[in-house]
């Protein structure tokens, strides 16, 4: 892979959508304000004009209705991309997601697949308070029958969508809302692009920082700071929460013998808890120190800036957690 030029995460998502619509006429985009408004995070800006109202469909505020309609359209031969504004709103569609999208292939004895893609914004950090700021990727990763992608980089924002569309089963893509305006250099989509493996974003020998989505940049920031103090952290971006690439995690632990997991979900019942359990099951003897977790505090995300900042995982907490272990 060679490095391309710098673009925003938002633009990467927009280009991915545009490419998907161009490449296959079965693809269409559906969701609240994806058309005339241009997407609540402006990810579909200009697509209505380019592809027309049939393929860029503004929906009523009916999350269960239009996510379910996406499942039905997928059964009927289309390749829908459904946008749900935020993970909190996706709760209104949980029946369709858990009871239909995830189960239809199984309940039908393998007769029907659901090639559906659902995208949504997730995460806190913009003072949007307790109904627009949560990280519930873990709830989705709990469900067999669906796949969960968490693009943390512009490259994944640009190229994961095409892989999700190719997938014959429902894929849920979680885009951390803080990432949309961030810029990065895109790695061109060569043969190396995959949606099977976690990525080692920074190599290190002393500790593994395991994370995904909006927390990746915080883990990288912590790793740089720790490096100046002589601790070399390996940073792993999980990229895909289900199915999980456990092998990359275990290989890293085998090298570093220590792990801190950074996850914006609440600590109780978090995805970090799942990773920790997998390490315990598969690499207990490799550990020089108990696995540690840096997660959100057990509180609905507050509005006030100073409290929100405290509630969410931050680089300094990761640094503190790591130093405790040496």
């Amino acid at each position: 892979m060679k490095n391309g030029k710098e673009i925003t995460y938002r633009e990467a998502v927009r280009r991915a959508l545009q490419e998907a619509l161009l490449e296959d006429e079965r693809v269409f985009l559906m969701g609240e304000d994806v058309g005339r408004y241009g997407g609540s995070y402006a990810c579909s800006h200009g697509l209505l004009k380019e592809f027309g109202e049939e393929r860029v469909r503004d929906t009523p505020l009916s999350e269960s209705g239009f996510v379910g309609a996406g499942i039905g359209a997928a059964l009927g031969g289309m390749l829908p991309i459904v946008e749900v504004m935020t993970v909190n709103f996706s709760l209104l569609a949980l029946d369709q997601i858990v009871n239909s999208a995830a189960t239809l292939r199984h309940m039908s004895g393998g007769q029907f697949s659901v090639p559906l893609v659902v995208r949504m914004a997730t995460g806190g950090g913009r003072q949007l308070a307790a109904q627009h700021s949560h990280s519930l990727e873990n709830w989705y990763a709990h469900i067999p029958g669906i796949k969960v992608f968490t693009p943390a980089t512009v490259t994944d924002a640009r190229y994961m969508l095409a892989e999700a569309i190719k997938d014959p089963d429902p894929v849920f893509i979680f885009e951390h809302a803080m990432l949309y305006p961030t810029k990065g250099k895109i790695k061109e989509n060569g043969n190396g692009f995959n949606v099977e493996r976690a990525e080692i974003c920074r190599e290190g020998s002393d500790i593994s920082l395991i994370t995904f989505g909006g927390s990746l940049s915080k883990a990288l920031e912590a790793a740089e700071s720790l490096s100046s103090e002589g601790i070399e952290a390996e940073v792993i971006d999980l990229r895909i929460l289900r199915p999980l690439d456990t092998e990359t995690i275990i290989n890293s632990i085998t090298k570093t013998h220590r792990a801190v997991i950074v996850d914006e979900g609440w600590k109780t019942g978090s995805f970090a808890g799942e990773i920790s359990a997998q390490i315990m099951e598969k690499a207990f003897d490799e550990l020089d120190y108990p696995v540690q977790r840096v997660c959100s505090y057990e509180v609905p995300i507050p509005y006030a800036e100073h409290l929100e900042k405290l509630a969410l995982p931050q680089a300094n907490e990761i640094i503190d957690a790591v130093k405790e272990m040496f």
Partner: protein, 334 residues
Amino acid sequence: MNKTKAIKAKKTRISSEQKIELLRQMLLIRRFEEKCVELYSAGKIRGFLHLYIGEEAVAVGIMPLLKAEDRIVATYREHGHALARGISSGAIMAEMFGKSNGCSKGRGGSMHLFDAEKRFYGGNAIVGGGMPLAVGLALADKMQRNPFVTVCFFGEGAVAEGEFHESMNLAALWKLPVLFICENNLYAMGTALSRSHSQTDITKKAESYGMKSEAIDGMNVMEVRDAAERAIEFVREKSEPFLLEAHTYRFRAHSMYDPELYRSKDEVEDWKDRGPIESFQSELLEKNEISESEIAQMEEKIKAEIEEAVAFAEAGELEPLSDLLKDVYTPLDV
């Protein structure tokens, strides 16, 4: 009983043979389910078992009018719909036995009968949950310019669900070819319609979405057929949704665990007097379109078919334990 003269009445021509076939299908469903009860008591069928007995005229009045490419979304009370659509009684019985020769390979059971070839998109056991799927199937057909109709069955209990209203709005807004069939059997499990809905006329709910609708006697197979024929033609020609509300009644308990404390025996008996099979059979006999001996022969053939279905289910293999994780995801080499 037509409450809304939504579309022009059209006189249907139907031969005696076709009428006899309608009777046969209703009888097959009735006898099949009576056998299911027996097998449930014998422990051969487990889980939930929701019987369609009393409501046969609805599925049988509609299903033969559909084309092979039309699509069906049903509920958890769907044995009748599956049989009327032509899924074999053996494959349905085997499904209830949890065998791998079942129509869902034993993964679904009574509430989740599926058949891709018959375009039967399942028994859905979440009340109202099938409705958005039907909307999506019709959307796919509309976008692909397919002249197909999606028929979506649901009970009056589903009408209180948000998914009903979201689906009605989407289907009407986008002018999608869905025929919604509300099988109004008056009880959502044990809760009467009048105790759970502020507006008990379901056609009015369709009207509020700008959707055409008609209420019919769901105990009368010919009335169902006539109305369904008009409705299907409307949906196919106009590519617009339509709602049929069929007034019907469940003669048996909600499921096998229901002591029926919520309705009187007299009420049940009154509805049984209007039984769809009993009344249609009498009508055909009166008009000399069928004889007692022909009915007896029909019963014999149905009995033989059901025995064969049970034998097919008994002979079916259980899926090997090593297959447990199959069909959660689509194999990528396919």
